[in-house]
Symmetry: C2
Subunit: 372 residues, 2 copies
């Protein structure tokens, strides 16, 4: 037996108020430590069915094809494009932040003819923005971000699916930072494909990407003329493992599915409406406190996202140094800006189990102490 050069795992007790991961509920941590059964064990199959049911509840959908993709939110994002796009397909993407840019990058890799509808960072789209673009030229698929984690803007969804469907397209929605913390009503909104991550408002460790696919989108999937250009994320195969056939595709991440089930149980126990109200109330407490300190949110109140707040860094303040002090002196993590907001904004997440009055109070007090 060799001498052990690597120490026991021993990290600081961080309070995670960045854009994810959020703090994981102790019950979910315990589920992670549960001994494994096999990925084709009848007990795991039963658990998969429960995870699917619970995901449908949280997505507010009846879509049969509702599953956790075996990768992070970025993988479910890619699954939402690569399964429905074939080379040469026209795709229209709303870009008003970092994740809209990523959608363009991904869609381009699958040979889509990508067009953009653009808004400044922090702004949102109107249905007319898409109408104008689609009148010029229809798109097979229109994608936009519901909760832009880079800007802190919340996209109103009313009227958008109607426009997209009238022009014959599928609507794809990123709800990575909204699912489980802010209303996401997939069926009522007419969304065809919605994807998320586990480590935001669901407060489960990162590693799975919840995904839901409407019957209409599933027809497009089954009507493809070419194989999906991504084996791991190919839903024509993945649906056979999660569906009645249970055909082996890849080994499901067992423990992560244990964790997601527990995280979703917690959502259902609290109730969706109560959960949204908690996220909203704690966000409002944060906003009031920030404004009292003279800190200005990047997004106007009307479209401000409760789960993730962006706030401008005051002139003359070294934003990275403040974050560093928050971490080392108070064990509190917040994040800096991405892309156009880099060096100019902080990003504060109040997501899932992290959305707590005591966390808001601590962060405000710590910021006050550090900003003097």
């Amino acid at each position: 037996m060799m001498e052990q050069p690597y120490a026991d795992l021993d990290t600081s007790a961080r309070i995670l108020l960045g854009p994810g991961p959020s703090t994981v509920h102790p019950r979910v941590l315990r589920a992670m430590a549960h001994p494994l059964v096999g990925h084709l064990d009848p007990q795991f199959i039963a658990l998969m069915n429960e995870v699917q049911e619970l995901l449908r509840t949280v997505f507010q959908t009846e879509n049969a094809l509702t599953i956790p993709v075996s990768g992070t939110g970025s993988a479910s994002m890619e699954a939402s494009l690569c399964n429905f796009v074939e080379p040469g397909d026209p795709v229209l993407i709303g870009v008003n932040g970092y994740f809209g840019e990523r959608l363009c990058d991904m869609a381009g890799r699958y040979g889509a003819e990508v067009r953009r509808v653009e808004r400044d960072w922090g702004e949102v789209f109107s249905p007319e923005d898409f109408e104008t673009a689609l009148v010029q030229k229809p798109a097979k698929l229109v994608a936009l971000v519901h909760a832009e984690t880079s800007t802190g803007a919340l996209q109103p969804m009313a009227g958008i699916a109607e426009v997209v469907h009238r022009h014959g397209g599928l609507l794809v929605m990123d709800c990575v930072t909204s699912l489980g913390g802010v209303e996401v009503a997939v069926d009522a909104w007419g969304v065809d494909v919605a994807y998320s991550g586990t480590q935001k408002c669901l407060s489960c460790p990162p590693g799975l990407g919840p995904l839901t696919v409407s019957p209409r989108a599933r027809e497009v999937l089954h009507g493809r003329g070419t194989k999906v250009a991504n084996w791991y994320l190919d839903l024509t195969m993945v649906e056979k493992y999660w569906g009645g056939e249970r055909t082996y595709h890849h080994t499901a991440p067992i423990s992560m599915n244990y964790a997601l089930r527990e995280a979703l149980r917690l959502v259902v126990e609290e109730g969706l409406e109560a959960r949204f109200q908690r996220h909203r109330a704690n966000a409002e407490m944060l906003w009031a406190g920030l404004e009292e300190m003279g800190l200005e949110p990047c997004v106007g109140l009307e479209h401000r996202l409760p789960s993730l707040t962006t706030v401008w860094v005051p002139e003359g303040v070294n934003e990275a140094a403040i974050r560093q002090q928050l971490l080392s002196e108070y064990n509190v993590e917040i994040a800096g800006g991405l892309g156009a907001y880099k060096g100019r904004a902080w990003r504060i997440g109040l997501m899932g189990y992290s959305s707590r009055r005591e966390n808001v109070l601590l962060l405000l007090s710590a910021l006050k102490a550090l900003l003097g």
Copy 2:
């Protein structure tokens, strides 16, 4: 608060002797339950470095680009192809089982011109098999499976890289079912890209795919004329998060990395050589017991894989019923055959923490009781 319709997580205490997941060591389970830090936290960055070092030890390589891909072994398999293949590239794949077939399917999706070198299921390749094929036509990339999980055959690696390199190709090796249980010597064997999964001989839950890339393969990656046709697995971006830049790409699965670090610590504590010997000794005990019962292994002793044994189902025996009884009466999981072996063979894994004398004895006794 809603009434909870979903019961507490409560699965049977399975003894996992299938092709993976194997039984997870209690220390690894505890690591999974460790509270999370952020994915850009200095403490997580330090842990990432340790995971990379430990992976290099286990792969027996000095390759700087040695990481866990944020998906299961199938994702690291896909990463091993999509990063090095561009449309029209000639690729040569050794097919003597299910996973060789999968390599062909995957490579084809990235536009490779796929040629096959074939051997019957259960057989292995000689360097001359590749020599003959490469003399006919060179290949940019040659891929083969070191430990075929579908057949239980162990591919000898001596001389193969020499042939592939002489013809100007990169050698890609699947070591999903060997890494950590059977010798895998990436540098000594001249392998350019090797990939694995966590849930086999490393006895970590499924969800990460260890991958190592030689400097030569990395040059090919950096010399691409086209973007990698897979965003999530694009190593030109992933290497910037795992390398010095720490540029955000996707959120790393924090808890899975905690688990992998602990699983790799256990490997290093035991020592690679001792671990290989343990796998070999327990496999030999299994083989002797099976033969004593008149059960015939599918693969001859010379190329038989210690971590996964395939054995023919005796005539007149319902193989699925026996597996079902093993599971329900003894909590022991083994697997049926895949592809050409479907319905004809059992697959018995003795991998990582599952490779234990008591497990061998239990399985043999239970099989004896059930087969009468």
